[in-house]
């Protein structure tokens, strides 16, 4: 039986790339395709789904899916395998965001972007999970690269875990890794401005694993200095049920990110009918379309007023929810699953 193996640079419990690995595995298994999922480094919390890359044993004819989101030297031997290869490009954060904050991750990202052409050339088929990513792939030497959106399975959003700490005021939710390109500093500034000017009882819940413990401390200091520190909570990474509960309690999702290869939280917010205020960065506009209040300026006071509209204007909320549901149809599981299987079959030849 032909097997499809997935290879990642690192696997974790919450990150979008690992979640895609899990969803692809389930889809492949449903279609009778075997194989295993491997990563150069595996977070202890992800060991049930992923094995270390050194354990990969690909039989002739097996397909190797390389999920590329950061460089690892341990991925290079995979390129030398005679097996057909499908490269899935999730984007690599430009290192300029990271030099000041995490030298190791910055180096991995810098080398990751430099090595992308090597991976692009070695792949029999290359796909990006957004047009934004596909454009980078084409530039890297995969002229026939095409876009294959992420698998978005709303069944994962059904289970509700523990809700966030209750409070009377509106809840602003930020969901993304705590990393400099996500610009949590701006989200905090906009929230603090909104709270000071319009919503004294508002709360901000920040969900996401930190780039490093010291970066989390830095953001906590920014929150404390903002004047709204008591209303800002850093939840760290949440399990999907707990994240679902947070969406269920949220009044608005805020993203000030400057660099996004896709942005799953947009689709999650659409699913829960939560309005979104976001900057149109990277792939965000192609995912959010007309269902997001786009913050195209450079003024956190304007962001604050967009939060005010998103939270207090019932007609606007209803319209955004309606448009969000329409966007979800563009990314329906059935549609993307069919495209995914087609790509796998094509790469297998």
């Amino acid at each position: 039986m032909t097997a499809v193996h997935q290879v990642l640079s690192s696997a974790g419990p919450y990150d979008a790339v690992s979640v895609q690995g899990v969803l692809w595995r389930r889809l492949l298994r449903e279609r009778g395709l075997g194989g295993g999922d491997y990563a150069a480094s595996v977070d202890p919390r992800a060991r049930t789904g992923f094995r270390l890359l050194k354990e990969l044993r690909a039989e002739p004819g097996d397909l190797v899916v390389i999920r590329y989101s950061a460089y690892s030297s341990k991925l290079l031997p995979v390129l030398a395998l005679p097996n057909p290869k499908l490269l899935v490009y999730h984007n690599v954060t430009p290192p300029r965001y990271l030099w000041n904050h995490h030298a190791g991750v910055a180096v991995a990202c810098a080398v990751g972007r430099m090595q992308l052409p090597r991976f692009a050339r070695a792949a029999d088929l290359a796909v990006g999970d957004s047009d934004f990513n596909t454009a980078e792939l084409r530039e890297a030497g995969a002229p026939h690269a095409r876009t294959l959106p992420i698998l978005f399975d709303d069944a994962r959003l059904a289970e509700r875990g523990a809700p966030p700490a209750s409070g009377a005021g509106p809840l602003v939710l930020v969901v993304s890794r705590l990393a400099p390109n996500k610009r949590h500093d701006l989200a905090i500034a906009a929230f603090a401005a909104w709270r000071a000017e319009r919503a004294p009882d508002a709360r901000l819940l920040v969900v996401g694993e930190p780039l490093s413990p010291s970066y989390r401390l830095q953001l906590e200091q920014i929150a404390a200095d903002s004047g709204a520190g008591a209303a800002i909570a850093f939840a760290g990474g949440l399990s999907q049920p707990d994240l679902n509960a947070a969406y269920g309690a949220a009044d608005v999702l805020l993203s000030m990110s400057e660099h996004e290869g896709f942005s799953v939280p947009l689709l999650e917010a659409f699913h829960f009918g939560v309005p979104v205020v976001a900057r149109p960065s990277g792939a965000m506009p192609e995912v959010g379309g007309d269902a997001v209040l786009w913050d195209t300026g450079g003024d956190v006071a304007v962001t604050a007023e967009l939060l005010e509209l998103a939270v207090r204007d019932p007609g606007l909320r209803e319209e955004l929810a309606r448009r969000g549901r329409a966007r979800l149809e563009q990314f329906s599981y059935e549609r993307t699953a069919a495209a995914t299987l087609h790509a796998v079959e094509e790469a297998l030849g």
């Binding site: 500093d185 000017e197 007309d290 209040l293 195209t296 003024d299 006071a301 509209l309 204007d313």
Partner: protein
């Protein structure tokens, strides 16, 4: 109801109105620049980074059992200090040498750019 397409301009108008009345005092326009903003490292920053010096107190662990693990890792770093210092020194030596060469190269390029065209050396000889 505000339409999604009109929301941004309406937000801008409201901010202008409020600012003229003294509102949003803590959020001056253009506040998107901050210490976390991205940027390529400057020459001064490169020089600073060239000197590798890891403080054992920077060793942290983020799990629930963090405190004892952090203590153990810091202890390990101190026990291996002699080895780590040598490693830091060798890497620093390489970094400084490379930066110095880069500086010389930039100086030469600058001199060539400033020289009259007929005095620029032909790299092909």
């Amino acid at each position: 109801m505000t339409s999604p397409e009109d929301a941004f301009s309406r937000a801008e108008e409201e901010v202008a109105r409020r600012r003229s009345a003294g509102g949003y005092a803590g959020a001056p326009g253009g506040a998107l620049d901050s210490s976390l903003a991205a940027g390529e490292p400057s020459r001064e920053q490169l020089a600073e980074w060239a000197v590798i010096e890891i403080d054992a107190d920077e060793v942290l662990y983020s799990s629930r059992a963090g405190a004892p693990l952090t203590f153990f890792k810091r202890l390990l770093a101190r026990l291996l200090r002699q080895y780590l210092v040598e490693l830091e020194a060798r890497q620093t030596r390489f970094n400084i040498a490379l930066l110095t060469r880069l500086d010389r190269l930039e100086e030469r390029m600058g001199a060539d750019e400033e020289a009259p065209p007929d005095r620029v050396r032909d790299p092909g000889g």
